[in-house]
Symmetry: C2
Subunit: 123 residues, 2 copies
């Protein structure tokens, strides 16, 4: 269930173009970096074996899709980080982040919005 760094790059490309055959993924990836076709296919195969992506046959070739959509993956990864490093609490993450990188007005507005919603639902 653990994706390696290289596998993750392929997964990101697949999110942009799925469903797609291997060659399409290779082409999408090669807009940015230049990985050998064989390398990309190995990584697709490894992710299939891990259950991170799946495929349907279409004649001679496979049509790949990610098992998790990008939003689900984001949630999974952020919760894992927050549990591992922040004892499950999100506010300290935000505070620590804000100490090092200044928040933008857009960030502040989005956070305010979130808080407003929360307050309407709860209390």
């Amino acid at each position: 269930m653990d994706i390696s760094n290289s596998e993750f790059e392929v997964l990101q490309a697949l999110w942009r173009v799925h469903p797609a055959d291997a060659q399409t993924v290779v082409d999408e990836l090669n807009k940015e970096k230049s990985w050998h076709e064989k390398t990309v296919k190995t990584l697709l195969g490894r992710m299939v074996k891990k259950g991170a992506i799946e495929f349907e046959k279409n004649g001679r070739s496979y049509i790949y899709s990610p098992v998790l959509e990008v939003e689900a993956y984001q949630v999974q990864e952020s919760q894992s980080l927050i549990e591992r490093l922040f004892n499950g609490r999100i506010a300290p993450l935000v505070t620590g982040f804000a100490k090092n990188k200044n928040l933008s007005k857009q960030d502040i507005d989005e956070l305010k919005n979130l808080i407003d919603n929360w307050e309407q639902k709860n209390d």
Copy 2:
């Protein structure tokens, strides 16, 4: 510069007890899990080689300390996640998190506080 999962467990124990010799780290770890002393020492050695921890000699044994304090490590890891997955923006992380796990009153208060501070400094 990349810490493996097992190494990270050892590092967390070391944060709690540092500066400490190997045996102290082993004992601290064995409160929770039961790793062989040899395993822990291997991991300490590997982290020294990677520059994640350092030591001073004390007679026959080494006294280990983490190079990064836990706060610095938290910042480093959260920024890395935010860049990889959220294009460098933190608000979407919080929004996604809040969609799946409800925020607590404490979280909301801390976020409000952060926003107040921000508004006093900027605009």
